[in-house]
């Protein structure tokens, strides 16, 4: 069988031009963890690889009004970044640190995890709860969109054929952020259910806003604004925690896999959402 080409662009423009030219025949490689599984196991046979490592400028972490993480930053770099860990975005470092093993986190990149859009994943759940955006660049220029809109379904994103994901942008989080990774099996498992909570609690203990996002249970992270409304405008109570957990359990669509049946996940969502919100009860 003919060998695929290995292309190593040295500028963003060059990489975008290659992607535009080759279309579906090319596979973009960053950390390569996902690509190598597909290729080595015969599940994909691209005609060319576009390897991004030599593209400058995609490996930066910048903290200002917002947190900006370049597409080539590895999970491990996010996890161990003193700047992130010492900031209000510390939950982002913790969440990336819960993915797979240190070995995989040395390879897998932020751009990779968002573009692969594998449902059984942790970071998208938290980042959607934090209202994160992605910056995309193609031949026509740059655009930004909410991560919640970017991930469409299993392995399906809004990324254009000639576009690359440049960075993830995380707005300043509200006063309370949590992410719970629920593993139903081994400590090394992917999430059976992930629950992220981003809540703004004022000095009087009242909840000004609440976003609960459930991930790893279907093609994309799920956020139900209406279900969160009962919490807003008053302190979070145990009853509200139970009610929102129940509501999420009713609303979330869930799939079955080796980590649990759809019915089990539905049940676990109620428990985990409730337990996450109970931490907010004064």
């Amino acid at each position: 069988m003919e060998q695929p080409d290995w292309l190593a662009p040295t500028s963003l423009e060059e990489a975008i031009a290659m992607k535009a030219r080759l279309g579906d025949a090319a596979t973009v490689v960053a950390g390569g963890t996902f690509t190598a599984i597909l290729v080595a196991n015969g599940l994909a046979q691209p005609r060319a690889f576009v390897h991004l490592t030599q593209v400058p400028g995609l490996d930066r972490i910048e903290i200002g009004d917002e947190l900006r993480i370049g597409a080539l930053v590895t999970h491990r770099q996010v996890e161990r970044s003193d700047a992130i860990r010492g900031s209000v975005w510390a939950s982002v470092a913790e969440c990336f640190g819960q993915v797979a093993s240190p070995r995989i986190r040395n390879q897998a990149t932020v751009g990779g995890v968002l573009c692969d859009a594998d449902y059984a994943s942790d970071p998208p759940t938290l980042l959607v709860a934090l209202g994160a955006r992605v910056r995309l660049k193609g031949q026509a220029g740059e655009r930004e969109m909410l991560l919640a809109d970017f991930i469409r379904d299993h392995y399906e994103t809004a990324l254009g054929a000639d576009e690359l994901l440049i960075e993830a942008i995380v707005p300043r989080p509200p006063s309370w952020v949590s992410y719970v990774k629920f593993r139903s099996r081994s400590s090394e498992d992917r999430p059976c259910v992930g629950v992220a909570v981003a809540a703004d609690i004022d000095d009087a203990g009242r909840c000004r806003s609440l976003r609960v996002v459930v991930g790893a249970v279907s093609g994309r992270p799920q956020y139900f604004p209406h279900a969160c409304e009962p919490a807003v405008g008053r302190p979070v109570t145990a009853d509200v925690a139970v009610a929102i957990g129940r509501r999420y359990s009713e609303l979330a669509s869930t799939l079955s896999d080796v980590r649990g049946s759809s019915a089990y996940r539905t049940r676990i969502i109620a428990v985990l959402v409730r337990r996450s919100l109970e931490k907010l009860v004064a």
Binding site: Q3, P4, D5, W6, A8, V29, G32, T33, T35, A36, I37, V39, A40, N41, Q45, P46, F49, H51, T53, R76, A100, S101, P102, R103, I104, N106, Q107, S187, E188
Partner: protein, 149 residues
């Protein structure tokens, strides 16, 4: 395609296809301490260090390693403190996973010279040992840490 890199501090030139993994290329070049077990990055039998960081060589396409400095278990000196600690406490059975554990432990100790038991367990959790030598492996890493101090 020709790929130039350094393995165990020696320059190495390997022939590999773009759709082959670094693991396959390394094994063909004679570095067989890295081994294929799961092929999906969960077991750690193919662990090598790239620029001193452990990675799964089964998840690296060979050309992506061009120019890298790679360490495999074959490159360990006889007085390597981590390897010696594994010997001292008999922290292996069949030995198939052992190079991956030793390299992972070396990377841990260069980053965290004085790890807690929990840090050791978390650092090693991505390496699987089916024979079940975990108790002695964790002990070996504690001893290695103490001997390096």
């Amino acid at each position: 395609m020709r790929i130039q890199l350094r393995v165990n501090e020696q320059p190495v030139e390997m022939e590999a296809r773009a759709d082959e993994t670094l693991l396959i290329a390394l094994r063909r070049a004679g570095f067989r301490s890295a081994r294929l077990t799961c092929g999906i990055g969960v077991c750690g039998a193919c662990t090598v260090l790239v620029d001193d960081l452990p990675i799964s060589s089964c998840l690296v396409l060979a050309p992506a390693a061009a120019g890298a400095a790679i360490t495999t278990a074959e490159g360990m000196a006889d007085d390597d403190p981590v390897a010696r600690a594994f010997m001292e406490v008999n922290a292996f059975q069949c030995g198939y996973c052992t190079p991956g554990f030793v390299l992972t432990a070396k990377a841990l100790l260069s980053e965290v010279p004085n790890p807690t038991d929990e840090e050791i367990r978390h650092a090693l959790a991505g390496n699987l040992c089916r024979c079940g030598s975990y108790v002695k492996i964790a002990k070996a890493v504690r001893i290695a840490a103490a001997s390096i101090r």
